[in-house]
């Protein structure tokens, strides 16, 4: 049962990755691309969690945690630049 769920999740994640890639490519505006990058980070988190379940390893969860925590900072920096034109005020 779990196996089936994991396989299904992998498949859907693959589709999500493709769609994110398309958004990154197509845009059309910069905020679209920033969001796409953020989504890519989320996808990566999901990917790692799933891999962790598949291989029954705790190592992947940690990595997922980090990506979730730090990916956010780069989104913040990008948003600030887009909105204010500078990072530090």
């Amino acid at each position: 049962m779990l196996n089936l769920a994991v396989t299904l999740a992998f498949t859907l994640l693959g589709v999500a990755l493709l769609l994110t890639g398309w958004r990154l490519w197509y845009g059309p505006t910069t905020p679209d691309r920033i969001l796409a990058l953020d989504t890519l980070y989320l996808n990566a988190v999901a990917l790692l969690v799933l891999t962790g379940i598949r291989f029954a390893s705790a190592l992947y969860f940690e990595a997922a945690l980090f990506i979730a925590l730090l990916g956010f900072i780069s989104t913040v920096a990008l948003c600030r630049f887009v909105q204010r034109g500078q990072l530090f005020e």
């Binding site: 990755l17 890639g21 905020p31 990917l47 600030r80 500078q86 005020e89």
Partner: protein, 929 residues
Amino acid sequence: MLLFIALIPLLGALLPLWAGGRRGRDVSVWTTAAVTAASLALLLWLSPVVFDGVVLQANWPWLPQLGLNFTFRLDGLALLFGLLITGIGLLVILYARYYLAERDDLGRFYALLLLFMGAMLGMVLADNLLLLLLFWELTSLSSFLLIGYWHSRADARQGARMALTVTAAGGLALLAGFLLLGHIAGSFELSTVLAAGETVKNHPGYPVMLMLILLGAFTKSAQFPFHFWLPHAMAAPTPVSAYLHSATMVKAGVFLLARLFPVLADTDLWFYLVGGTGLITLLFAAYAALFQHDLKGLLAYSTISHLGLITLLLGLSTPLAVVAGVFHIINHAVFKASLFMAAGIIDHETGCRDMRKLNGLFKYIPWTATLAMTAAAAMAGVPLLNGFLSKEMFFAQTVYQAAAGGEVHWLLPLLATVAGIFSVAYSARFIHDVFFNGEPINLPRLPHEPPPYLRAPVEVLVAICLLVGIAPAYTVGPLLAIAATSVVGGPLPPYSLAIWHGFNLPLLMSSLALIGGALMYWQRRRLFRLGDRYPPPDGKALFERGLNLGIAATRRLTEGLENGSLQRYLALLIGVALVAGVAGAWQGGELTGDQPLPPVDLLSLLAALLLVLTTGLTMLWHRQRLTAIILLGGVGLIVVLAFIRFSSPDLALTQLTVEVVTTVLLLLALRYLPSDALPESMPSRRLRDAGLAILAGIGVAALTWGGLTRPLQPELAEYFLATSLPGGGGANVVNVILVDFRGFDTLGEATVLVIAALGITALLTGGFPLPIRSSPRVVSIEERWPLLLRMGARPLLALTLLLAAYIFLRGHHLPGGGFIAGLMTALALATQYLAGDFRWTTAQLNLDYQRLMGGGLALIGFTGLVSALFGYPFLTSAFTHAHLPIFGDFEIASAMAFDLGVYLVVVGAVMRILLELGQANAEENGWKP
């Protein structure tokens, strides 16, 4: 003991500088003379053993891997040259004291002279080809300085430069020749090389090697056609000329021929090359000497001519010719040194060296004139003087060759007689033109007898001329015998040193030369007219033209390659790397190894596809800079995923944090760089670059493929995996390698980081560009610090710091460590600056990042020194297990302190870099640091 003979003058060269500057002239003369006398005394002290036929050797290894050793040998040849160098050197020192004017820096002169003397001694005593070459080049250098001693004079500078160029070029050829010789003989030690004569002569590389070595010897000894530097070196002070061009510098070339005689000589090639060059030089220079009007110019060409004679004798290769050659080396050194000194006295007393003006000086300086005339007679080969003996032996050898060598060689005695006639003629000119022949014309001043000390060296030398000339067997005989023995490398045939050998062909030739020379001088007016119409060719103009051509060509080449465009350099660099790679691949070999390969899974394929997409878009859209940064973030993320996939969690964590820091950094810089740049290069240029890039990509891909399809050598990995836990006390092998096994490398890397941060500070202090006003604000908001962001960032700091502490502490056993924790902390701190008021945040955090990274580096160094304190090598780590009530088993490792240092360095450097750029951001809003 042997080492000191050369070492004393080399080290003693410092003394006259010290004495000259502080104590005055006399002290510097006496120190110099004492240093020289010490070397001479050492030589004399060692000489009795050498006279018994023993070869003294001394050996200190220097770079034995390269075959370069401090090995010295003292045999007959080295002893002879050593005595000439130190003996005549001592006289020159005395002479120079009274010759050089008050305003000349005597200390510098003596220092250079001693340097040169030490180099010469080292060269003649060296028992290693490479060591010999080292001293050889040192003589070139120091003679350059000596010739250019009066460096305010243009002719001195030019002459010195020419001498250096010619002799150093020869030295380069000599180096190549020596390397070949050492390769053929199997060793650079002379003792071995000298014994390998047969092997060397039968080797196919012999002709090339011989020519290279001869090139070195001929340039040094001013043989035709490289003779032209010597007359121009006459711009040197006369003591230098007397020293360099009689006993030392130019004799180095013939010394080398004599030294390598057992290995190289006695082949047809040697006979024709050495003998031919010697003969041409002998004749040409004797002819040219006759037409010189400058006193020193005449002596210079006669020196070349006599060197040619010695070279010719060595070229003839018979043992008796060698004896004659060595004998002439001694005789020429003695009479030529005294002649130069006499010429120097005349120049010193009259201020003129032109033989058309110098006339009838005999009645003003009768004693000096007598000495000079005696020496000149020795040069001409007049009986009862030393020059006669060796010249007669030379004539005898030519006759012997003619008798033994068939039809062609009858020319040899004839040409030898012609050369003798010229030599007598120019000697007669030296005597008659200067000391008789009417009255002096328009001299700057009329001469008086010089001070006795200026004349004393000449007196000594002329006395030697006479003594050797009258009783050769009792004076110079033994020295000549051992010197010639060591040149020939075996017992000498019987010969007799005597004035009278009865009526024979050589005596006839000598008489012919004397009479013919006198006749020729008598008819000199006619000859001079001829000489004016067909002047001997001047090598200088040719040399200058060649030099200028060479300089122009290299300049064109440099300007062609180096046009100041960094883009072009980089393209060239990559192009050359590609060519090298292709050349390597051309050698053949299988690209694909035999390692079985696992299949690819769909998810990896998908990730790779995404990577291809993001990379490609970054490349294509690199001019839309903000988009490019976003895409680069995508590339980085997928690389992080790849690291996780391929079992490197440490790398993934590091890459992830660096990725975010880089994004922040690029965004900070973007404000000061134009955002949407125009294409800056022509389509053709872009096509070229794309071609280069694709080729580079294919090359790297092929390399990766080749590597991945071959099995790994597992020794190194197994070593680290096995010793990590027992040796370093950590389960995370990557971290243990970083902080323990290769701690010294990590120290270096931490230092690089600190240097980069400091460099960036230095670059940006006081030199910040103006911001781009048109920077894109796609969705502008007016709120400076959004509430949600501000409030959200603060707990994030606490959370991230906690996480960083955790990551840091466990780093020795699980993924983590100082690098990652440091980067995370830096990110958490940067977020605070991002989210809130820069001024407020700076005040609240109140951290001096520069001090932080300095402290970190100091901590790393300190950790290393502690282990040194306990007698272990630098950076040895130690660890122990402690038990704490609440925390349980706890491990304390010195590597922990090391890692803390790394942590501090990373935090400090990254924050320093970010804030250096961010500060300007904040300053725009009126913030002052």
